[in-house]
């Protein structure tokens, strides 16, 4: 039954910007301060107060627009969206309606679950957030306006997605981009990256779209997937039973895993949008756009491709290392110091990621800096230490912050590559294990591993494994 329907999804994402101050006043945007402590006449909507646009918000919008292949409008206008609600101090939200700052962008998404495809971005506009209502038991409702007037970008996609998997892939990529750009902290729990999903279904082959439901309260990727899957099933069932989908807003209930109609809110709001007479039209010059473009960081997709094509990394390594900007920066700082990308990649993906996860520290706070790690890799490649000893050195540096050379010297970990010294150990091992020697010489060549292990043990792991192999062969053969 399901296969006879096609799912259509369009997403509206609210990206809360990390500017130090609000979009139309100088108040701080810091999260979690005491209620109404970060307010002024402007964000309280006091009579006579006027908005002044924060230039940094425009910069963030242009960055995001460029990173999502949008056209940046040379002329855009702010509009008032009028509605009454206690968390909206002015009785209108300043947003953009006609002529938003970015239009006609796209993102390419790909996954193992579906063929690579391009998702259109209709528009990106700037707007102010509303405050928060706190419903206290026995104390009525309280209004906290700290969040009022914090800057948001609303990124509106085309209805181009055909499954929850595609929606998630698009969202993850957008999330990665805004975090990479540094315009958003990406924290979904705190609401810094919020998504509403417009979901409809239609019989396969039908050209016009089905009636959509707008899903809200989707504050994790997992919930988004659950909500979409539930909603698609609900709509199909409804249609199959002869019912009709109503255009409405539905809240996702994460505990029950269902979406529920938001009753009580008027269905068809007339927001009476009109250009805000308190703000001049925003003019963005070619020069301004060029300035922002020049300062754009390399984006995750570009990095991933460069890692594959120029550094010769496998696709998997390239994807992992480019996924988050701080990790990519760590990796790149390492490669600059030690020009063996694959070895660097192995160590970053192995020891470094393992250790920071285990110790629950951010990559930026990793005590084994790229410089210190490069010191280890250098000693691996010049055969001063083995890969195994290197892990010991890594742990020691994590604890002490000393350099690899200091740790190796202090603890006497330098690999023994001196043939004479190794020959002495080998002679001892051969003397101590006559039975195994006899068996080996009798043709049981598998025992080579045993001898290598014994030598490594005697040398406390410092013996150069390659040399040990070579010398052992010679010694074991000599006596025949």
């Amino acid at each position: 039954m399901k296969t006879r329907y096609e799912t259509v999804i369009g997403l509206e994402v609210h990206v809360q910007l990390t500017t130090a101050t609000k979009i139309f006043c100088g108040c701080s945007t810091a999260f979690g301060q005491s209620p109404n402590s970060q307010t002024c006449p402007v964000c309280l909507g006091l009579p006579g107060a006027l908005p002044v646009l924060n230039r940094e918000v425009v910069n963030a919008a242009i960055k995001t627009g460029l990173a999502t292949n949008c056209r940046i409008a040379p002329y855009s206008i702010f509009a008032r969206k009028n509605y009454f609600y206690p968390d909206l101090p002015k009785g209108y939200q300043i947003s953009q309606f006609e002529l938003p700052i970015c239009e006609q962008g796209w993102l390419d998404i790909s996954s193992e679950e579906f063929a690579a495809k391009r998702i259109g971005i209709t528009r990106i506009h700037m707007e102010e957030d509303a405050g928060k209502l706190l419903h206290a038991a026995n104390a009525g409702s309280l209004v906290d306006l700290n969040r009022a007037c914090t800057p948001l970008l609303e990124v509106v996609s085309e209805p181009d997605m055909r499954s929850a998997a595609e929606a998630i892939a698009y969202l993850k990529q957008l999330h990665q981009i805004v975090v990479y750009l540094g315009v958003c902290d990406g924290n979904m729990e705190e609401g810094s990256f919020r998504c509403d999903a417009n979901v409809s279904v239609r019989p396969v082959g039908q050209a016009e779209l089905g009636t959509r439901a707008e899903l809200k309260n989707l504050n994790s990727f997992r919930f988004i997937k659950q909500a979409i899957d539930y909603e698609v099933e609900r709509q199909i069932e409804l249609i199959e039973e002869g019912g009709k989908v109503v255009q409405e807003t539905r809240l996702f209930d994460p505990d029950a895993g269902v979406t529920r109609s938001m009753r009580g809110k008027e269905q068809a709001h007339d927001y009476r949008y009109f250009p805000d007479p308190d703000l001049l039209p925003l003019e963005v010059s070619e020069g301004w756009i060029a300035e922002v473009r020049a300062a754009l960081p390399e984006l995750p997709d570009q990095k991933r491709r460069r890692y594959e094509e120029q550094l010769g990394l496998p696709a998997y390594d390239a994807a992992v290392l480019s996924a988050e900007r701080p990790l990519a920066e760590y990796f790149e700082a390492l490669v600059v110091r030690h020009n063996n990308p694959k070895l660097c990649s192995n160590w970053v993906m192995g020891e470094v990621l393992g250790a920071i996860r285990e110790n629950n520290v951010a990559i930026d706070d990793c005590p084994v800096t790229p410089e210190l790690l490069a010191g280890i890799l250098k000693r691996i490649e010049d055969n001063s230490i083995s890969g195994k000893i290197a892990k010991t050195v890594f742990s020691a540096i994590w604890q002490t912050g000393k350099s690899a050379d200091e740790v190796i010297a202090e603890r006497g970990l330098k690999q023994v590559s001196d043939s004479a010294a190794l020959a002495a150990i080998i002679a001892e091992v051969i003397a101590a294990n006559p039975t195994e020697v006899a068996e080996y010489r009798g043709g049981k060549e598998k025992l080579m591993g045993f001898f290598v292990g014994q030598v490594m043990k005697e040398s406390k792991g410092k013996a150069n494994p390659g040399l040990v192999n070579q010398l052992l062969k010679e010694h074991l053969q000599q006596k025949t």
Partner: protein, 485 residues
């Protein structure tokens, strides 16, 4: 000198020469208010104590020789300006208890100069009205005949200046709210070019039209007070960053050789004969001063009132949404839910005219009507602005009546909003065009009520406009006439 004749320019000399003190002048104004306010109902809020504190501080500054132009000058403020710690009602019941936590930029500028703020002046509710009759504080009365309205919406400001309660005052003008009451009260009132003066802290009626301006007894005072409040304000995105001229310095440059346009659309059948006679006489005064008077046309004038009542009400419907009883002002809530609180608060808090305009504006912006009303009005506005710009290619200034009649009787037009709206027919176009305009006294009608002459200048042409006004004032003595009260 009578308190009625005090001017900023005259008083400034007296104060700086220490022939009088700010405290003494302030006391004279407050006595005058005590003696006349029962008849006039000019003040919504008074602040005698802080006025004397301001005056004392001004005297310290004066004796230290650090006085600015306005140091020690008693001024009144329309009750639309946010004044920190001083109740600001905007003529509405809904703000009966509202005490701002900040000063409007213009108030800050007056304070920096050391002006003495005497109190807050009566006005039409939210500046919506042409007669001061829509004020929650009750009508303010015309000092020339207390049965007549003072005009509006800055009625209290014009009355306070005309009646000698303050030396000068600030008002706001959205469709004529400075010029029309100034004309009706026989004083000088100037609406600057949109963007010339900061609107920050001025309670908004129609944001794209509102401008702050002075109401004074003389043109020179008008120049002084304008210079004190004009200039770019980073807190108002619509204020314009262009230098403020020394208006007073060039006042005496005269009008010889200037071209003054007489827009034919303003000399219409409905014009009161006394007003027409006074304006015609003013034209002759200018001819005598060496100006060239030429007929011009502003062809879209007829659409001004309709255009204004769509744009102004649309903006007002949104600007007044914040009066919801949630955060400040008077809340009415006899139970029920959120919607009930909104309805009760706004039903009880707003007067009839404000409700009428909120409804008109809401309608004009509604889905399905937006294009036919609001958008069309914006297009018409552009045409009206172009009318002016074209006219200013031919002439330096325009000369018109301020209002079709002198002040009408209290109650005369309250039942007929359309008639009331038409009293702003000559003042509205300058707001729509965004250009500067002013009213100066030019005569009296048979009943002894003052008549005003309107000069309309080019955008940011205040300097030239003030020169022409000053020349007229020098050639006539209408500005010296004071009501007997």
């Amino acid at each position: 000198m009578s308190v009625l004749q005090l001017t900023i320019s005259g008083l400034r000399e007296e104060l700086q020469a220490q022939r009088t003190s700010a405290v003494a002048v302030t006391r004279r104004c407050i006595e005058r208010i005590d003696n006349t306010d029962d008849q006039l109902n000019t003040f919504v809020s008074r602040c005698d104590d802080s006025a004397f504190q301001d005056a004392t501080a001004a005297d310290v500054r004066l004796s230290a020789g650090k006085a600015a132009t306005l140091t020690g000058i008693p001024l009144g403020l329309k009750d639309i300006f946010s004044t920190k710690g001083l109740r600001t009602t905007c003529g509405s019941k809904i703000l009966a208890n509202y005490v701002p936590v900040y000063d409007a930029t213009v108030v800050e500028r007056l304070r920096e100069q050391g002006a003495v703020i005497v109190g807050k002046l009566n006005m039409d509710e939210f500046a919506m009205g042409s007669s001061n009759e829509s004020s929650a504080a009750g009508v303010c009365r015309n000092p020339w005949d207390t049965n007549h309205v003072p005009g509006g919406s800055s009625g209290g400001s014009a009355v306070a200046v005309a009646a000698g309660q303050v030396v000068a005052a600030l008002g706001t003008d959205t469709g004529g709210s400075i010029r029309q009451p100034a004309a009706h009260c026989g004083v000088v009132g100037l609406k600057p070019t949109y963007g010339r003066v900061s609107r920050y802290g001025v309670i908004a009626y129609a944001s794209s039209l509102d401008q702050v301006g002075p109401i004074t007894r003389t043109v020179e005072d008008c120049a002084l007070l304008l210079e004190a409040i004009a200039g770019y304000d980073p807190c108002d995105s619509t204020s314009v960053d262009c230098p403020v001229p020394d208006y007073q310095a060039s006042l005496r440059d005269g009008v010889a050789g200037k071209k003054i346009g007489l827009p034919q659309e303003y000399f219409i059948a409905g014009l009161d004969p006394a007003v027409k006679a006074a304006v015609d006489a003013a034209v002759e005064v200018y001819r005598g001063l060496g100006a060239e008077l030429v007929p011009v046309s502003l062809p879209h004038t007829d659409y001004s009132v309709a255009c204004y009542y769509l744009i102004a009400t649309a903006e007002a419907s949104s600007n007044l949404a914040r009066y919801d009883g949630v955060r400040f002002g008077v809340r009415h809530c006899t139970g029920g839910g959120l919607i009930d609180m909104y309805q009760q608060t706004r039903s009880a808090g707003f007067g009839a005219e404000v409700k009428r305009r909120i409804m008109l504006g809401t309608y004009a912006l509604s889905s399905g009507y937006y294009d036919a009303y609001y958008l069309k009005a914006q297009k018409v506005r552009t045409l009206i602005r172009q009318d002016f710009l074209k006219a200013f290619e031919q002439v330096d200034l325009l000369l018109t009546p301020v209002a079709p009649t002198a002040a009408f009787k209290i109650g005369e037009k309250m039942d007929d909003p359309l008639q009331m709206y038409l009293s702003d027919i000559f003042t509205i176009p300058a707001n729509l065009a965004g250009t500067c305009a002013m009213s100066i006294p030019c005569g009296f009608d048979a009943a002894g009520l003052p008549i005003g002459l309107q000069l309309i200048g080019k955008p940011f042409g205040e300097e030239e406009m003030l020169q022409a006004a000053w020349a007229f004032e020098q050639a006539t003595d209408w500005h010296t006439c004071r009501p007997t009260l």
